[in-house]
Amino acid sequence: MDSAVDGPRQPPARAGSRLCTRCGERKAALKRPKTLEQICRECFYVVFEDEIHQTIVDNNLFKPGDRVAIGASGGKDSTVLAYVLSELNRRHKYCLDLFLLSVDEGITGYRDDSLETVKRNEIQYGLPLKIVSYKDFYGWTMDDIVKAIGLKNNCTFCGVFRRQALDRGAALLKVDKIVTGHNADDIAETVLLNILRGDIARLSRCTFITTGEDGPIPRCKPFKYTYEKEIVIYPYYAISHIMYAYFKKLDYFSTECIYSPNAYRGFAREFIKDLERMRPRAILDIIKSGENFRISTTTRMPEQGTCERCGYISSQKLCKACVLLDGLNRGLPKLGIGRTKGIAGGDGDCEQQATRSERNRSSLQGKHGNFDF
């Protein structure tokens, strides 16, 4: 112990020695990154949920009677979203029909476990669950795809197929909207990535709280202004019995994609976290910067049509998924992997990525299991 060397500059504040700045009664348990307020656990729940309600109301995310699919990966964001949304739906009488929608990529050991989490959520919270699979839609599992193409570029498939599978699953459920668990940190990270790639078209679009309003099923992000730190702490601080029952077996963290050597995104994420430590507002400011980019009239946006083969939204004759599938089925898996700006559903996360010899090394860096923007 080296505390003698540079002892505390201020008297050590033992846990809970300060009072909550909201209620002034209970001990503060958390410093909110967004506002730097020091608040107690009970007040945290109130503000956390109220802010999400406010976001939903201010942005008119839902209409009474809407059928809404929650993109559920079994990860922390979508699990907390499912819980909070069903609470708010009840409390504020949104009159929504909520569903859990999961995509089974067919990754042995990874998706099996996270789907178990989603199945528990179905029972614990009484939300009907629909699981759709790559195998059913495309005839290929991710395990098969990786066998065919190796570890390089597999995230291109993953991104394109997942996005489309979610849309198709939502169509089967006949929902009006899809909600995803993207949080403020995710969005700030995507803004940065789009700057780094020079993808101006996506730069402002990735900050929209609702996207795809021109397409068949719009998607929205009720956690757009919610910090990851608070999402992580929310289930940890479970105060009520029902919350405890809901979250106690939540092993969401061990679910990580073994095919996710996405170091580029990992570096962007780390950079965001460094900024957040120095100035927590940086995350909201980056989102604001993205929002304020406007595409000049000279930048031509690709026209949206539909894929000749499958009918999915596409700016080309064939959608990206069909091009990739063609390649797979003809034994030319490189087909369609090149950088193709503006193609609907193009993910682009990993095109620059080379295979990592020790792919497990990146497993804590890469973020996977999110639906793409």
Binding site: M1, D2, S3, A4, G7, P8, R9, Q10, P12, A13, R14, A15, G16, R18, K27, A28, A29, L30, K31, Q38, R41, S73, G75, K76, D77, S78, G181, H182, D185, D186, E228, K229, V232, I233, Y236, Y237, Y252, F253, S254, T255, E256, R269, E270, K273, D274, E276, R277, R361, S363, L364, Q365, G366, K367, H368, G369, N370
Partner: protein, 100 residues
């Protein structure tokens, strides 16, 4: 000093057998008998972490994105690296860095 350390959010993967909860007995190694967070982090690094310490630590603190709770209280409210620990304290480390 007896402490309970919990690791979550994937951090447990850096430890022996991916064990999440560790009951440890720490000897303060200087005169005043204190254990502060800074010292605990160094101890965890040399005694518990089996691989990739850079996933847990950066400089002499935790890596940004790793959440620390001391007795369920955000360590930022307890003095951070200078927070003094007491007998039977529970310290939780959660990585927020992956798993959407």
């Amino acid at each position: 000093m007896h402490l309970t350390l919990e690791f979550g959010g994937g951090l447990e993967l850096l430890l022996e057998k991916s064990t999440k909860v560790h009951k440890v007995d720490l000897q303060p190694n200087d005169g005043d008998g204190k254990v502060v967070m800074k010292g605990l982090l160094a101890w965890v690094k040399s005694n518990l972490i089996k691989e990739r310490p850079e996933m847990f630590l950066k400089g002499d603190s935790v890596r940004p994105g790793v959440l620390v709770l001391i007795n369920d209280c955000d360590w930022e409210l307890c003095g951070g690296l200078d927070a003094e620990l007491e007998e039977k304290d529970v310290v939780v480390f959660i990585s927020t860095l992956h798993g959407g």
